[in-house]
Amino acid sequence: MKLTNLKSLQLMANQVRQDIIGMLYHAGSGHPAGSLGMADIFTALYFNVLKHHPKKPLMKNRDRLILSNGHICPARYAAMSRAGYFPYKELKSLRKINSRLQGHPSRVDLPALELSTASLGQGLGVAVGMALAARLNKQHHTIYCVSSDGEHDEGSTWEAVNAANKYKLNNIINIIDRNNIQISGYTHKVWPLKSLKEKYQAFNWKVFEINGHNFRQIITTIKKAKTLNQPVCIIAYNTPGKGVSFMENRFEWHGKAPDKEKSVLALIELQRARKKLLKKK
């Protein structure tokens, strides 16, 4: 299902956010802030950008999507479910015994995830390997990596950034969730990242900076990125906890699930936003 108009994309992202709150409430643990913050980008990917087929998840010419900061997988699971990969009711099995929806992504349990991740700083290197394989195989799909600002503390992330430069890859797009928080505080206080843009540029990447909640920017930037003959980094300035006011921009919600009361509050707010959207022309 491809969504092209703004309102339908916003409604879908709202649904994904409601799913995230429900999943985390049932799980009793997990990472709400980053998941809510990336709901728009995952919606844009699964409902507009990606070449994919939910019923043939491993079709050869699909675009590859790696979620390197695996802890925000609830956003991906919700978007995948809404896109038709598996029934919505399975979302409640997140983090439960015998579930395919592991607390952090498990490719062996759910192959459409492409890669088991969540030890930070590994996804981009695997994306580089997949991009090299695509070149050897003369395939033309795009390899997308979603990574976090926090995992740019890891030296291995920068090894991978330079590898894409060395091999002059033109089929890889790294989308950075630049939400300025990580588990123990604001990113600039935990570890100085300074300008990610200048760093990526120094490694010969093309860098775009976007508002990660603006669908038009997300979609047009990716479209442009695919035409370029170099690796592309899209720094998405995101609001962690987006859509749930008491979670927004608070690092305390990086890795804590809402209890019943907070979940109800969050859902009421999201449903109000939905009604408002429906009234819009």
Binding site: S106, R107, V108, E114, L115, S116, T117, A118, S119, G121, Q122, G123, L124, G125, V126, A127, V128, G129, M130, A131, L132, A133, A134, L136, N137, G155, S156, E159, A160, N162, A163, K166, Y167
Partner: protein, 315 residues
């Protein structure tokens, strides 16, 4: 007919890393085989492959962690990557990448470590991988193989390419006489009985088995000698069959005593047929520079130490 690859010009004796280089070159006829190196291309003998198949060779620089994740990406797209470095860097520098990216994903990556063991010699303690098997043995989905000589390294490399799943090849720098021939059969997970015998089972892996050969010449009986080239999964059947007969076991490894082949065998025997055993290996120490012979003597892994161990066990 497949065109035969010219043999390399390396005269006997040859090392296990030479065997790997030769096998990788031959395997290169298959277009899905790719190789990665973290700068140490010639030292790991991947340079023959690099020269012949440059488009399928990936130089990764001194960045082992990224080499392993890149190999994972290649493997998940159907390639069979051989990633090589020294044992002290691979697995040590990139253990997390091996655990999550390679093993948890069941990615078909072949991890190749050369310069393992004390016999690495004059480079000293920083370059003698003595803890690699201990670090890897507990990780699920991984097969660990340590061939004993050049010929077996060729066979092991080819068998690793055929096996679908992560494999760690433990290789060496030292050039030592061959214990097997190019005709000797090799099967992963099937230990090779080098010598049938009585009274005692000697179990070992890698070129250190040469010291066993030297030691047993001084005995007035023939002990059973098992080349346990596959450290994980362990060939329980062959080991139990032998130890049930001999009632005693000596395990030798060019590795720390903790967590190596000796530990694997002890875990097996203590839970099935508790047996008097002796494990010979490095005793919780960093070693030093020296020739392989000097090091094996000083750290008590050579034929003299093995002989003393045997006499002690049979007392």
């Amino acid at each position: 007919m497949v065109k035969k690859t010219k043999p390399l010009i390396i005269k006997e004796p040859r090392s296990t890393r030479d065997g790997y280089g030769q096998a990788l070159l031959e395997l290169g006829r298959n277009k899905n085989i790719v190789a990665l190196s973290a700068d140490l291309t010639e030292s790991t003998r991947a340079h023959h492959f690099e020269k012949k198949y440059p488009s399928r060779f990936f130089q990764c620089g001194v960045a082992e962690q990224n080499m392993i994740t890149m190999a994972t990406g290649l493997a998940l797209e159907g390639k069979v990557p051989f990633a090589s470095s020294f044992g002290v860097f691979l697995p040590m520098r990139c253990l997390d990448q091996i655990r999550i990216s390679v093993c948890y994903n069941q990615a078909n990556v072949k991890l190749v470590a050369t310069h393992c063991g004390l016999a690495t010699g004059p480079d000293g303690a920083t370059h003698q991988a003595l803890e690699d098997v201990a670090a890897l043995r507990a990780i699920p989905n991984l097969t660990i193989i340590e061939p004993c000589d050049y010929h077996q390294a060729i066979r092991a490399t080819k068998a690793a390419a055929k096996l679908r799943g992560p494999v760690y090849l433990r290789l060496h720098r030292a050039k030592l006489p061959s214990l097997t021939t190019s005709q000797t059969k090799f099967q992963i997970n099937k230990a090779q009985v080098l010598q049938k015998g009585t009274k005692l089972t000697i179990i070992g892996s890698g070129p250190i088995l040469n010291e066993v050969s030297k030691a047993v010449e001084h005995l007035n009986f023939k002990p059973e000698i098992i080349n346990c080239h596959t450290i994980k999964p362990l060939d329980k059947k062959t080991i139990l069959k032998s130890v049930k007969k001999t009632k005693k076991a000596l395990i030798i490894q060019d590795h720390q005593i903790s967590g190596g082949l000796g530990s694997a065998v002890a875990e097996l025997l203590s839970q099935t047929i508790p047996t008097k055993i002796k494990i010979i290996g490095v005793k919780d120490k960093f070693a030093e520079s020296g020739s392989p012979e000097e090091l094996l003597y000083k750290y008590k892994l050579d034929s003299h130490a093995i002989l003393a161990g045997i006499r002690n066990l049979l007392k």
